[in-house]
Amino acid sequence: MSVTAPIPRVGGLRRALYAVRGRAYPRVVGAMREPSWLFYDIVLPLLGAVAFVFVYRALGAPPRFTGYVIMGGATLAFWMNVMWNMAAQFYWEKHQGNLELYLAAPCGLVPILLGMAAGGLLGTSVRAVVVVLTGALLFQAPLPVSSWPAFAAIVVLGLVALYGLGMVFSSLFLLWGREAWHTVQLLQEPVYLVSGFYFPVRALGPWVGMVASLIPITLALDGLRQVMFPGVHPALAPLAWEVGGLAVLAVLFTVLALRVLRLMERLARREGRLSFRW
């Protein structure tokens, strides 16, 4: 006779939501159990962003440039979350032997990835809020918002597109070994450069800006700066175009992620790379 109650089986969306919650849980609990991350994951990187504020101060730049840096620093937290905690995570999971368990689970990889993203959002959001508060309180960075609906639309569409892109990258990390770590490194300063994290992206020229717009953060940051500094921010494109572009990227990367994840999983199984750790 069984002494344990049978586990109820669920399917469809409910199962996916269970998987999201299940993967997010250890990240949230981990953050609570070891609060030291608040120091080395928020305070110390914040000092890195502050360094760019002092660069503009050394140049005697107008106050809105401080606002540029603060918005860039806040957005950077999301890019780091997507690249380290989502895209590259499959590489770490290989090392820990969890990837095989994820593939054997009856929920698919997408809910697992969404769980990673949701779990990491706690730390990411705290970091972004701390950056904005520091900018506003310590440096008196001007952070006005001329249109909250436009601001909210850009943030939501930008996040959907960004996490979709993260899922596309994660499919590549199913195949990769040690190059994963180096690739994430490669996608830091060069991306901060072409996406205009610390200066208006239009300074790179319209063509570079257009190509860089494939990275959702480029359009999101430029759009947010247009909403915050209307009339003075040298925009890459009209605001409506940028919001439309973000909507297109959100749909494109979501659909692409679903397809590419299946394709790469099949490829990784065929080439025996799912448990290939180095």
Binding site: F52, V55, L59, H182, L186
Partner: protein, 285 residues
């Protein structure tokens, strides 16, 4: 044959650690791709500063741009050397799971870690030189060469390397005690030093109390000494009131203090980690 002990044993462990570090860093791909990966990030960082300067200055050139460029070029060497030691512990503990075997091997553990850091220093030299070359060719960076300045730069480099390794050991002492998510710490400390050391702007821009902190960090003095060695007289300085000899002397003093602090924190961290049984504890969320 018994393994060499004392200084000879330590030097052998440094050499083997450096060799292993180089293999870990470089043998995952072909040399060309490794080269591209090595320079993309530092060059990207330098170009960010160039464009920040350009949008404010409206396309005009100025000596502050040279200050930015030299700082951005030197930074990978600074940060990779220091982080190399911290990452070595994290890699051996969390990913390769070899730390217990390395620690119990008949070699000085610190010397192995220093070797791993030196391999990163070697890797950091390439982007440093290439970013300076890029500055000279593409942005008319006015580097100055003379025997006296070369000797000054060499002395600063040697002292700076000792200081960076000492700071790396200090970092390692902390990493020993952080069992979860510690892989972010070396990067985060690098970000903090980016602000404190005047890497990309003169320290004089910082508020007074931060300037005080900047003065006890050897990296601040090393960057100042290197800028004095490479850039013409009259360019912006972090410590305009001090002469070149005083800057070098203060670099030596802060390096000595960092070596003392690094040794103490490393020993304390190691002792505490062993006592708590977490030297090889892996944690993942």
């Amino acid at each position: 044959m018994p393994p060499p002990s004392g200084l000879a044993g330590a030097l052998r462990a440094v050499r083997m650690g450096a060799w292993l570090g180089w293999q870990v860093q470089a043998n995952w791909t072909d040399p060309l791709l490794f080269f591209i990966y090595s320079i993309a990030r530092p060059l990207g960082g330098a170009l960010i500063l160039v464009f920040m300067f350009t949008v404010v200055a409206g396309g005009r050139r100025g000596p502050m741009l040279d200050f930015f460029l030299v700082g951005a070029a030197l930074w990978p060497y600074v940060v990779w050397t220091m982080q190399g030691l911290g990452w070595a512990v994290l890699e051996e503990r969390e990913h390769f799971k070899m730390i217990r075997y390395v620690y119990t091997a008949p070699i000085p553990f610190w010397a192995f870690l220093v070797g791993r850091g030196l391999s990163m220093a070697l890797t950091g030299l390439v982007p440093m030189v290439l970013t300076l070359l890029f500055g000279v060719v593409a942005l008319a960076l006015p580097l100055v060469f003379s025997p006296a300045r070369a000797a000054y730069a060499l002395a600063a480099c040697l002292l700076g390397l000792v200081g960076l390794v000492a700071m790396g050991l200090l970092l390692v002492g902390v990493v020993f005690l952080i069992s979860g998510e510690a892989w972010r710490l070396p990067e985060a400390v690098g970000a903090a030093l980016y602000l404190l050391s005047g890497a990309i702007f003169p320290v004089t821009v910082l508020p007074g109390w931060l300037q005080g902190l900047a003065r006890v960090v050897p990296v601040t003095w090393w960057l100042e000494a290197m800028r004095r060695a490479l850039l013409p007289v009259g360019h912006p300085r972090s410590f305009p009131a001090l002469d070149d000899g005083m800057v070098l002397a203060l670099l030596g003093l802060t390096v000595a203090l960092a070596a003392l602090a690094g040794g103490l924190v490393y020993q304390a961290g190691l002792w505490s980690a062993r006592r708590r049984g977490i030297l090889d504890a892996e944690t993942h969320y």
